[in-house]
């Protein structure tokens, strides 16, 4: 499954490599990965990053939608320094991974399986944030023989954030949504991300991440974007749109939680914000599997691992060690 290209595609830097020209690429506590490799998932090239000793036991991290593995630059080094080999991949269409023709939930889970297949046959802990948290619930239910522990970081969708709309209005809303989506499908193949300054890209990202430190958002740009003659552009596939389109229901992910047989830790940030699901403890606790643990973090938003990397790392290490 693992494969090296004769001419490696461009990628973000490692800890051992210099910052891009003219960029002071640093953030307190953040550390770029120690290693990088490419993994092929059924013909698609995935970008895989690792922190820590290569011979240490692996733990797999799955990032959220519109994020990339580098968003673990705060949490991953702490877990790695505690004796773990932290492995995270840029999901298809995200970060340095290839932009595929199509996307689906099943394809993302298969990609996770392809990365895990390069890490040996022993079951390993898996951690996921937001979309990545929901992904690992399906991964753990579909392949319990590969997963030893589950850590879900604010990745438990609930229907609380879904609007209550009368049916006759819903039909009109759906028609407008459908037309917009079809137009996007028709034209997205020619789209490119809008260029801007490093500061400008950080400011754009801040609109959906209002609680995050602007300095952190600036730190993410040289990882999740690449420079060109006319400025920086986010690497994420321009054909992707937030929210998806189809019959998916948030409760379908939550319904996977009670099935899990491995030790499971669910962490919620209690401060509600745009990228979160608005899920409350009373939505999660009744669905915990036997022995499952819940931690609600007061005063912390959706990006629990970015706002409080030390606190979250302590919870994770206590759970998986």
């Amino acid at each position: 499954m693992a494969e090296s290209d004769p001419i490696p595609p461009p990628r973000a830097r490692l800890a051992s490599e210099p910052s891009p020209d003219g960029v002071d690429h640093a953030f307190p506590g953040a550390r770029r990965p120690d290693r990088h490799r490419w993994v092929e998932s059924h013909g698609l090239r995935l970008s895989v990053w690792e922190w820590g000793d290569e011979t240490a036991p692996p733990v797999l991290f799955a990032h959220g939608g519109f994020d990339f593995a580098g968003t673990f630059d705060g949490l991953a080094p702490i877990v790695a320094d505690a004796g773990w080999r932290v492995v995270a991949w840029d999901q298809r269409g995200h970060g340095d991974s290839e932009h595929p023709t199509l996307y689906s939930w099943e394809a993302d889970v298969r990609d996770a399986g392809a990365v895990m297949a390069t890490l040996g046959a022993a079951p390993m802990p898996v951690l996921g944030h937001s979309k990545g948290g929901a992904l690992i619930l399906q991964l753990a239910e579909s392949s319990p023989h590969t997963v030893s522990h589950v850590v879900n970081l604010d990745g438990l969708p609930s229907s609380r954030s879904w609007p209550d709309v009368p049916e006759h209005n819903r039909t009109r809303m759906r028609q407008a949504e459908t037309s917009s989506w079809l137009e996007h499908r028709r034209t997205a193949g020619d789209k490119v991300r809008r260029p801007g300054t490093l500061e400008g890209l950080a400011e754009r990202r801040g609109r959906m991440n209002p609680r995050l430190d602007p300095a952190w958002l600036r730190y993410l740009v040289p990882i999740g974007a690449r420079p060109a003659d006319d400025g920086w552009r986010w690497k994420i596939d321009p054909t992707l749109r937030p929210g998806g389109f189809g019959p998916w229901r948030p409760e379908w992910s939550m319904a996977r939680l009670p099935s899990l047989g491995m030790p499971t830790l669910c962490v919620l940030g209690r401060e509600l914000e745009p990228m979160g699901w608005g899920t409350l403890p009373e939505d999660v606790v009744p669905n915990l599997p036997p022995g499952g643990r819940f931690a609600g973090l007061e005063g912390v938003g959706h990006f629990v691992h970015i706002e409080q990397p030390r606190m979250v790392a302590d919870l994770v290490l206590e759970h998986i060690s």
Partner: protein
């Protein structure tokens, strides 16, 4: 005379739209045939389209026939519906007839593009039930050596697992009814009725008829 095959572009996919038969009568819209899961457009117009007086076209869905596949999968019904929408828009106005998976897509495209779809006929065929009305126990195909296709094996894997809730199917019925000039923009001629199709067949605005009656219904000005 129309060329035998037109290549249409849907984002990163090249779609093959095949001309199967010329019109017998003028001024009747094209019939767009959508094949079932794992099938491809036949080389000639199926005999069951003989009653259609307009031209007959068939679309190879992404990952099927002469249309390009998606490396590493990622198939969804909504993406394949967009294939059909692009073909319908290219042809102007069409009546869609779909087999199996194509029947589900015919429903979706009738709701998505009522201004381009004058009637959709839903037939039996491979991939009619999909993954059922709610998610089942998940499974993961990874690391397996799969045939190259076509059909793309990931299309077969994913489109037998896509969830088709009856209320979701009904939302497409509502869109088709609201946007269409016809009283019955949908016709169910399938004998097998998985939950999504049973709900559709019982809905106002849907005719429960034979294939021949459905073709007659939509070919009449």
């Amino acid at each position: 005379m129309s060329p035998p095959t037109v290549i249409l572009h849907h984002n990163r996919v090249d779609l093959a739209l095949h001309h199967l038969r010329d019109a017998v009568e003028d001024d009747v819209q094209a019939l767009l045939v959508l094949h079932g899961l794992g099938e491809r457009t036949p080389a000639t117009a199926p005999v069951w389209t003989d009653g259609w007086p307009g031209p007959v076209w068939g679309l190879d869905l992404t990952g099927h026939g002469a249309s390009s596949p998606s490396r590493g999968g990622g198939y969804t019904a909504e993406i394949l519906m967009a294939d059909a929408a692009i073909a319908a828009i290219h042809l102007g106005t069409v009546t869609v007839v779909g087999r199996g998976l194509g029947a589900y897509l015919a429903l979706l495209v009738a709701g998505a593009c009522p201004e381009h779809v004058r009637g959709a006929v839903l037939l039996d065929g491979p991939g009619l039930a999909g993954g059922g009305p709610a998610p089942g126990s998940p499974m993961m195909v990874a690391g397996a050596v799969l045939p190259v296709g076509p059909p793309d094996p990931f299309a077969l894997v994913e489109m037998t697992r896509d969830v088709r809730p009856p209320d979701y199917a009904l939302s497409w019925v509502h869109q088709a009814v609201e946007g269409s000039e016809l009283d019955t923009p949908l016709a169910v001629a399938a004998r097998v009725r998985p939950p999504w199709l049973a709900a559709v067949a019982d809905s106002p605005g849907v005719a429960d008829v034979t294939l021949d009656d459905a073709l007659a219904l939509y070919s009449t000005p």
